[in-house]
Amino acid sequence: MKKLLALVLAAVMLISVVSFAAAEEKKTLTIVAWDATTTAYLAEQKAAYEAEHPDVEIVYVDVPSQDWTTDMATKLNDDKFDIFMVKDVPSLLNWYKANALLPLNDYIEKAGFDLSGFKGMDEYYKFDGNQVALPFRSDFEVLFYNKDLFDAAGVAYPTNDMTWEQYKEKALALTNTDPANPIYGTFYHTWLSTAVNYTVADGVNTLLDGNYDDLAYFYQIIQDLEDAGACITFNEAKAAGLHYSGVFGNGNVAMMPMGYWYVATLADKIASGEYKVKNWGIASMPVKEGVKPGSTFGNLTGVSINAVSKNPDLAWDYIAWLCGEAGAKVTAATGNRPAWVSEDVAEVLAAKEGFPTDEGSKAVLLPTFVAIEIPGTDNTAAISAVLNEEHSNIMTRTVSIEEGIEAMNERVGEILGQ
């Protein structure tokens, strides 16, 4: 019996060694990404690149998005991984300071890669002159709206040049507090960004300047809407762990400010019948008086090369493809807005099945101005932590808006003063 077991184990070991050797024929590119199994565009990008390069196999290492920051801390300096996807600039800055990334400047110069297609967004990935990553997706916040609910209430659709006052009026007009079938004028996801980041759209305010009095305007709007029953309260949304995708998809929310990435999910899930919402559109985010319509804030998603990767050249080849026009068209075909901006790419975006066909929605694809959500500086991580803590204080009504903002000013002032 024991002898048989030993023989079986030895045979298993032998087989695994042989198959491992056989698998070495193809070149493997290992990419660390979040939600790799549920993100549509990752599969499309892999398929498109492998079709053009049959000798390369792309392997995604999946990390759940809420554990991203902490999980990545263990993956730096591990030569098993070639490419790290970049979720936010503060993390990228931390990785850069940990010397975990390969600067791309030489590769860009040798390949003559044209950076102008990024319309300056690539600058956010540059630290001390080192281009440590390139963006392949550039999301920005737009206003999703449910056309059927607007028609039923007889309210005009949101236009691309609304002010926040007009937005608030529409939200109140669309609200129906009937407990049997509640209709909410709008929905705010629990993030800090969906609540108040609109303040950076004027190109002057940032979230790092230590002065947060401008946020009071947006907090007041949300609290007024909550009190009027026009949106689900922060407490309820937090406690129930509501996710914006399901809430809007359920069809009883008339408007929702959210990132452009939601377009792909919406189109797919409506086509599959999972979502009840049928006719929807997007409009440019409302702006404050004096700010140019079509201004909003956004974020970049990019790719970077692991400093200790064993295949840096192959990794660069993939990055150049992904972030350039070729990869941009593949990304656009999945409904996600690539970082590379050109007329051709915009055509592909608008042609995606399920994308709203009205001119207003199409016009949103060429925004006037996109400010980055939060630039990467040494203090970004610490300041973000403080802002998020005070945000939860304000949104749960533990403190008044004035007290919360005062705390923000005080605490961030201390960080900046160091």
């Binding site: 920051t69 902490t70 730096l76 300071k97 940990a98 309820e236 406690a239 932590a385 939860s392």
Partner: protein, 315 residues
């Protein structure tokens, strides 16, 4: 040393070796490195990024400059007030100590009561013991998610309270006072099963003759409990309280899942603060310094308890 003695010694060491090697590699060495790391600043990348900073980390986490200047300007207690209300470390210490001071006695009381109730051979006692012990072995994440739902604004707990006349119209984890009590509730609920089992075993060890003698002397149930049972349970209580205090200072998973330290910083605990500094801010040196503070606090408490052992242990 004779041959036999040496052989026995070698055998003893070889039995101890695996456990000790594991302890040395996974606990001892990291702890020592962590003590050293608390005097450096490191962002987790290559080791070349580790810089010796001496006591700077401790000055930072205690905000000694600001606390000192507040004390100089407005007095000692003003400085302390600033530390415990505005400085992250002070808030974390305050929250953790409050949590420990409430959870430990509550857990002990509940477990003793449960053990007393289930000590008799009542019908279904074994079933009840299993039910009460179950939370301790269940998945912490599942427990916390379920309790989050129960403590929602219109959840079962609030509805029960409304029926009792208390109108608490808020989700527990969204209120800065009740969030702490939510965590205490879940912890006590989880602990009482485990310590109930320990007390059950201890109760079995109380000699019957003592109860009989007490009855003969005319003691009623309550007097028997106070004067026979409790004193006999002192070693167990001593053990349980030490284990509880140490585990309460280390609370992390409940807080991380239920409140993430919120709202604001009202449930920010020491280990959560360490985690945030290390893995969200990439400041391993600072995190190690906080861990040292935690070590000193727990060590002090444990040493005080052990030095009082003569009082608690049976002679």
């Amino acid at each position: 040393m004779g041959r036999l003695e040496r052989k026995n010694t070698l055998i003893a060491y070889s039995f101890l070796a695996p456990n000790f090697i594991g302890f040395a590699v996974f606990t001892l060495v990291p702890v020592v490195l962590s003590i050293a790391m608390s005097f450096t600043e490191w962002n987790g990348g290559s080791l070349a990024n580790m810089h010796w900073t001496g006591l700077k980390n401790y000055a930072d986490i205690f905000k000694s400059a600001k606390v000192g200047s507040t004390m100089a300007e407005s007095g000692f207690f003003a400085g302390l007030g600033y530390f415990f209300n505005k400085v992250d470390l002070g808030i974390a210490l305050k929250n953790t100590v409050f949590y420990t001071l409430v959870t430990v006695p509550l857990s002990l009381v509940c477990s003793i009561m449960l053990a007393m109730a289930l000590n008799k051979a009542v019908k279904g006692a074994v079933g009840f013991r299993t039910i009460f012990f179950f939370p301790y072995v269940a998945s912490m994440v599942a427990i916390c998610v379920c309790w989050n739902f129960m403590l929602m604004k219109n959840g079962p707990v609030n509805q029960l309270l409304m029926n009792l006349g208390i109108n608490f119209n808020k989700s527990w984890t969204a209120d800065s006072t009740m969030a702490m009590w939510a965590i205490i509730l879940v912890s006590v609920w989880r602990n009482m099963g485990y310590y109930m089992v320990i007390y059950l075993a201890a109760l079995q060890g109380v000699p019957r003759e003592l109860y009989e003698a007490a009855t003969v002397d005319g003691a009623n149930k309550w007097q028997q409990f106070r004067n026979v049972t409790l004193p006999q349970l002192r070693p167990t209580t001593f053990f349980a309280s030490i284990m509880l205090i140490i585990s309460c200072f280390k609370i992390y998973d409940t807080v991380a899942i239920m409140t993430a330290g919120g709202p604001g910083r009202s449930t920010k605990m020491l280990v959560l603060y360490i985690f945030q500094e290390a893995f969200e801010q990439y400041k391993y040196g600072t995190a190690s310094a906080i861990a040292m503070v935690l070590l000193v606090v727990v060590l002090t408490v444990t040493v005080i308890q052990f030095s009082n052992e003569k009082k608690f242990a049976n002679d």
